[in-house]
């Protein structure tokens, strides 16, 4: 398929997914309400720590801005196809996509973009209220260049996370049930993403590992680019690592997917 044809197919699938998503408006509203609870809660805990006299390497303004923006950054970089890809493989529902001219990943990309668009409509006002509530402490003094860097980092973060979830999903070719892998990955990222504890608050002895591990490059690095005064060397190293993880995981996911297709037996097909 040409690029033009691919984009046309994805656009059609996007429209279908928008319609499907709108049928569950209340459901998505509740999801988004839940997704903003964690950053609010984390911010309150860290603010309580600060008012108890704790000496943190960052100030209230950094923490507040970080947590206010983190829910939006998490949404932009989110992906969830690892939840249904294994069952699609196991139940043979992948077969129908194998006889079509387009890849199943057209549908996955369209679903990802459509749900994000609707979720953004619900989340943005909630973040706006959160922002307004702490407006005195939400400060973003970044140059245009930093904003461009932030946007680029988010896009690379989205590619990295999409590829990682695809990689987890491909486990379905070999295992009957990939939920345990998904659960375990979920537990690891609960800490290493920086969603509850900003990664800059990890102890000094752990900073080397924390800065190098891939989960940092989903959205925490992008927020650091925007909010922290990072040295040129830190920025360059971060950009290289992020691009490396995004491309590396994308290639690994593709390789595993093609290997998996060879062993696919389409029990339900």
């Amino acid at each position: 398929m040409t690029i033009g044809q691919t984009l046309r197919v994805i656009r059609r699938l996007f429209a279908v997914n928008i319609a499907n998503t709108l049928a569950y408006r209340a459901e998505f509203f509740i999801y988004m309400f839940g997704s903003i609870i964690t950053p609010i809660m984390a911010l309150m805990i860290w603010r309580a720590t600060l008012t108890s006299g704790a000496s943190l390497p960052v100030d209230t303004r950094y923490l507040t801005t970080y947590f206010v923006l983190s829910s939006l950054a998490a949404l932009v970089t989110s992906a969830w196809h690892q939840m249904w890809l294994p069952s699609m493989i196991r139940d043979g529902k992948l077969s129908i996509w194998l006889v079509r001219p387009g890849s199943v990943f057209f549908e996955i990309v369209a679903n990802n973009l459509a749900e994000k668009a609707i979720k953004f409509l619900f989340l943005a006002p909630m973040v706006g209220i959160f922002w307004w509530f702490y407006r005195d402490d939400v400060v973003v003094k970044a140059s245009v260049l930093r904003w461009i860097g932030f946007t680029a980092c988010l896009l690379f973060g989205a590619l990295f996370y999409f590829s990682l979830q695809a990689l987890i999903g491909t486990v379905g070719f070999w295992w009957q049930d990939a939920r345990a892998v998904d659960w375990f990955a979920g537990m690891v990222q609960a800490i290493l993403l920086g969603g509850i504890v900003p990664l800059v608050l990890f102890p000094d002895w752990a900073q080397g590992f924390v800065n190098a591990q891939p989960y940092r490059y989903r959205f925490a690095f992008a927020l650091d680019v925007l909010l922290r005064d990072m040295s040129r060397q830190e920025l360059v190293t971060g950009f290289i690592l992020q691009a490396g993880y995004a491309m590396g995981f994308a290639m690994l996911a593709r390789w595993c997917w093609l290997r998996g297709l060879r062993s696919y037996s389409a029990v339900g097909g």
Binding site: E27, Y31, I37, A54, A180, V197
Partner: protein, 283 residues
């Protein structure tokens, strides 16, 4: 004219008294549990993965606490060891919910939307009891054991030796807290009688439940009140640990019992009202 006798009219009532009714439901609950264990033994890999996830969950719960207290000796009157004890109790409560409640709550949407509630309503058993306690995941009891160990370690490190009375009162409050949380979750999932799906409710519950891993005094007053009276995690974790550490008050268990009785009654009424809207999708 005399009403003709039927086989049904000659039979004695199934439960002459409320005590008989409770006993019969207790026996049924035991049967459900035995069946759940048999199922767990059949799917051993699943049980092992639940235990591994349980270990990861404990690390995930305790790590933020350790990271937080590297910067402060005390936060709003709580030290690190007391918060570790609280995380332990949080794990115990999570384990009980995962074992006995979540498997039922996550099935509830399908019960209503696919008409599977029909046979439940025909059974000679409380339908609310059935939909709340039928399914169990005994492997998740690992959380309870690990959480209890963490609770004891936290209290020991904090140098706290609660008296038997304090332990009893903390247990009463924690039990009330657990019942209140089940009521809160039930109240939310019963909305499915009017909507298509409430799958996101479980996610929302998880997001709110995370707050139980921290003392409610860490949060501002409005949120503290919310976590005590609207989504009552305080009764399940903070207040019991408060009692164990000698910070509690004598009236707290009384308040917890009174609130629990009222809320349980309201949930019973809410169920009876909601079930009237059930249209049986399969018929």
């Amino acid at each position: 004219m005399d009403t003709p006798e039927t086989r049904a009219s000659r039979r004695p009532p199934l439960d002459p008294t409320i005590v008989h009714r409770l006993r019969r439901h207790g026996r049924l609950w035991k049967r459900f549990f035995v069946m759940a264990i048999a199922r767990e033994i059949q799917y051993r890999a699943n049980a092992i993965s639940i235990i591994l996830v349980g270990i990861a969950f404990i690390i995930v719960s305790i790590l933020p606490v350790l990271l937080l207290f590297q910067f402060a000796g005390e936060v709003n009157g709580w030290n690190q060891d007391e918060v570790i004890a609280l995380v332990g109790l949080f794990q115990v409560m999570t384990g009980i919910m995962e074992t006995f409640i979540r498997p039922n709550m996550t099935r509830f949407t399908a019960l209503v939307s696919e008409g599977d509630l029909d046979p439940v309503l025909l059974r000679p058993i409380s339908s609310q009891f059935y939909v709340t306690f039928r399914w169990m995941s005994p492997a998740s009891l690992f959380y309870v054991i690990a959480g209890a160990a963490l609770l004891v370690i936290g209290l020991h490190r904090a140098g706290i030796q609660p008296s038997p009375v304090e332990i009893l009162l903390a247990t009463v409050i924690a039990t009330c807290g657990m019942i209140l949380l089940v009521c809160a979750w039930s109240a939310l999932v019963y909305i499915v009688f009017w909507t298509i799906s409430v799958a996101s409710i479980a996610q929302l519950f998880d997001d709110l439940w995370t707050a139980g891993g921290y003392p409610v005094v860490f949060f501002p007053t409005p949120l503290r009140l919310f976590l005590t009276f609207v989504f009552p995690v305080a009764f399940a974790t903070t207040i019991p640990v408060d009692l164990l550490t000698g910070r509690g008050h004598w009236w707290q268990p009384l308040l917890a019992v009174a609130v629990t009785v009222v809320v349980a009654g309201l949930i019973r009424m809410w169920w009876r009202y909601a079930i009237r809207s059930y249209a049986s999708a399969s018929s």
